[in-house]
């Protein structure tokens, strides 16, 4: 690829190119800023996802322990009973969140209403709801990590295109055009001098 833009060598084009370079630099700066923020959002979400995973592991341990205890105490039927005492089911609301222009899925858990005549069941139910909430939170975070990752890749490409292709190309073309105009000016001056000396010579002869 040529390092020069193919344009007509006129002064108007040079002015346009200079304006375009300024704009390109501004856009590059903004995109770089956006990229930095997106990368940080990405890293912060990775850290949160790791923390949530650890929490899920610990809650899972509690839920397994409680369920084993309940089964040993009341038998397998306890889980049917568990289902029957739900008055209003928990709901998950799924929507979108926009992180700096990156669209990602988000979800919220709306806790249901329960009646627990068996005391042991209360702890088990609370833990299982907590587990569901954490699982959904983890899903949301991991989904946003994927979306952010894709956007980071795209933005990086644009930043690099501006930084390594467009702006250098504009600068080289501007430099080339300026040199060309300077040279043209010098040529013009030399020509004028020559004409002047020729005219003087002619005057001297006459």
């Amino acid at each position: 690829m040529s390092s020069l833009l193919r344009i007509r060598p006129t002064k108007i084009e040079l002015i346009r190119l200079k304006r375009r370079r300024e704009l390109a630099k501004k856009v590059h700066k903004i995109l770089r800023e956006r990229l930095t923020i997106l990368v940080n959002e990405f890293l912060s979400r990775v850290r949160i996802a790791y923390r949530v995973r650890l929490e899920i592991n610990s809650i899972l341990r509690d839920v397994y322990r409680d369920s084993a205890y309940l089964v040993s105490l009341y038998g397998d039927g306890i889980f049917d009973y568990f289902e029957n005492t739900v008055r209003e089911e928990s709901r998950v609301v799924i929507g979108f969140e926009n992180i700096m222009g990156v669209k990602s899925y988000t979800a919220m858990v709306r806790k249901g209403v329960f009646t627990d005549p068996v005391i042991e069941l209360t702890g088990f139910r609370e833990n299982s709801i907590k587990l569901i909430q954490k699982l959904i939170e983890l899903g949301r975070i991991e989904r946003s990590i994927i979306s952010l990752g894709e956007e980071i890749r795209r933005t990086k490409r644009r930043v690099n295109a501006l930084e390594y292709i467009f702006i250098p190309k504009l600068e080289t073309t501007i430099r080339y055009l300026s040199m060309k105009f300077e040279e043209r000016e010098r040529e013009e001056k030399a020509r004028l001098k020559r004409v002047k000396s020729m005219l003087e010579k002619k005057k001297g002869v006459a």
Binding site: L5, R6, I7, R8, R20, L23, A24, K26, V27, K29, I30, L31, E33, R34, T36, I37, N40, E41, S44, I48, V93, G95, F96, E97, N98, I99, M100, G101, K103, T106, M108, R158, A161, L162, F166
Partner: protein, 146 residues
């Protein structure tokens, strides 16, 4: 024939560049809200949300809203959500400003810093990260072209 081809190439190159720049400029602030909503109105909603300039619906975490209302107390209803944090290229790279009075109060309280009533609050990148971690859905960043 050759001249035509060269002219076509010229226009293609220009178009590509103009397209890239114009698309970027058009999309850079599309994540801003179409209209900001007060904290109380959002708290009244069953599922709090705001509509963005690109037409998408942005869900807001209720826990964050409750946290903000607890922070501001009686003034909570005056706070407009989302809190807008602007980039400030005039100050330098990595500097951000907050203009809204109540938003300044919230951010200064979270960061444990002082602020002047008449002047915008200037925060820096590490502080922005703290804010974004705490107020994930209730803050947004405006990319300033100036």
């Amino acid at each position: 024939m050759r001249r035509k081809k060269v002219l076509l190439e010229m226009s293609n190159e220009k178009d590509l560049f103009n397209k890239l720049i114009s698309v970027e400029l058009r999309l850079i602030n599309k994540h801003l809200p179409y209209k900001r909503v007060s904290l109380c109105d959002l708290l009244k909603m069953d599922i709090p949300y705001i509509v963005l300039r690109d037409g998408t619906v942005h869900l807001i975490d209720k826990e964050e809203l409750l946290y903000l209302s607890k922070l501001l107390g009686e003034e909570a209803c005056k706070l407009k959500i989302p809190i807008i944090i602007e980039t400030a290229p005039s100050i330098g790279e990595g500097a951000y400003i907050v203009r809204d009075h109540l938003a300044k109060k919230v951010i200064a309280t979270i960061l444990g810093i002082d602020y002047i009533l008449d002047k915008p609050l200037v925060i820096y990148r590490p502080q922005l990260y703290i804010i974004r971690e705490k107020l994930r859905t209730t803050t947004t960043i405006l990319f300033n072209l100036e």
